[in-house]
């Protein structure tokens, strides 16, 4: 199948699942019966290509993309999915940029009562807090927003690198999932492992990169955007597979602001 046809098929699948639910269409390969502990992303097409049905539990996932790529939306959807799987589950958001918008987090389906928002001072304190939250907090999922903010602070990146060797054990013990958000780096920097996230990439079990492709319009109105989600690395499947996700704005705010 040509890549254009593949993209059209993926787009059609995404539209149907967005409209009728994730279970409306499932790939045959998903019925293998092999399941790894995971949190579904809420986008079935993406779940199908990660190799574990979503993002893995007890492991690190790196989610990269620039602004308006949809990575934050995906992260919030993951928080909601992690909560839905069990009424007891609490999730966390390490909000280093202090820009979390509870109104929109809630619209993504997150139960705010079971969401802890951590706002430490960036740097070593944030990294230490990350470790403590995974160890003591009993969180099903912790989203760190973002690696860029962590690395920008003095000693932040160094502290994180020091934590990485212990992180695997921490995550295995806690059983929770850890998702780090990151900005994309130039491919040549990635290939040469010269970017600041390279050690985190090496430690990650899954790396997904998001990229906005086009706006979605209804007449003149902008109603969302279509983004490509590419699995750059997966411990369970060959990297490089991609799919399309559509992010449609939830227009439940008053008429004068449909965002």
């Amino acid at each position: 199948m040509s890549s254009a046809k593949q993209r059209r098929l993926a787009s059609a699948v995404a539209s149907i699942q967005q409209r009728y639910g994730a279970q409306a269409l499932v790939r045959g390969g998903d019925l293998n019966g092999r399941t790894l502990p995971h949190i579904a992303t809420g986008f079935a097409a993406l779940d199908a290509i990660t190799g574990c049905g979503g993002v893995p539990l007890a492991a690190l996932t790196l989610l990269s993309g620039r602004s308006t790529s949809g990575k934050l939306t995906l992260a919030y959807k993951l928080l909601a999915q992690a909560q839905h799987s069990d009424a007891q589950h609490t999730v966390g958001l390490l909000d280093l940029s202090r820009t979390a918008d509870p109104d929109y987090v809630q619209r993504c389906g997150v139960d705010l009562e079971r969401l802890w928002v951590a706002r430490p001072v960036a740097g070593r304190q944030a990294v230490n807090l990350l470790g403590d939250l995974m160890q003591r907090g009993g969180l099903r999922l912790l989203v760190v927003d973002s690696l860029t903010d962590l690395a920008a602070a003095p000693e932040g990146l160094r502290s994180l690198h020091a934590l990485l060797p212990h992180l695997a054990q921490l995550l295995r013990t806690s059983g929770g999932a850890l998702v780090l958000l990151d900005e994309p780096h130039a491919p040549w920097l990635r290939w040469l492992n010269l970017d600041s996230s390279q050690r985190v990439r090496q430690a990650a079990a899954l790396h997904i990169e998001m990229r906005r492709e086009q706006w979605l319009r209804r007449g003149d109105a902008l109603v969302g955007y279509r983004a490509q989600a590419q699995v750059l690395k997966s411990r369970w499947v060959q990297g490089g597979r991609s799919t399309v996700v559509e992010i449609v704005f939830n227009g439940t705010v008053r008429a004068s602001e449909s965002w």
Binding site: T68, T99, D101, W215, A221, L222, S256
Partner: protein, 86 residues
């Protein structure tokens, strides 16, 4: 699904002769507006201790693919970034 700056991120806005925003600088990086998606004005909370909010909002897309909400504080005439979609 967005980031929200509760205090507003200060930006330097360049407008045309009609006051229509053209480009802005945020964190020393320039952004050119591709399209203004929506405009609206808010005049609220004049009775609150925190003070009146009187702003002109614009939801814009930029040429490099960002979708964000900017506003001009009509009391101070300064421009701010309110939300960035991601």
């Amino acid at each position: 699904m967005s980031r929200l700056w509760p205090e507003g991120e200060p930006i330097q806005m360049q407008t045309d002769a009609d006051g229509r925003p053209l480009r802005f600088v945020w964190r020393e990086r320039p952004y050119r507006l591709a399209q203004i998606q929506q405009r609206w004005q808010v005049d609220a909370d004049w009775w609150r201790e925190a003070g009146r909010i009187w702003r002109d909002y614009v939801a814009v897309t930029t040429t490099d693919g960002l979708l964000c909400v900017l506003y001009q504080d009509l009391l101070t005439e300064n421009w701010f970034l309110s939300k960035l979609y991601d």
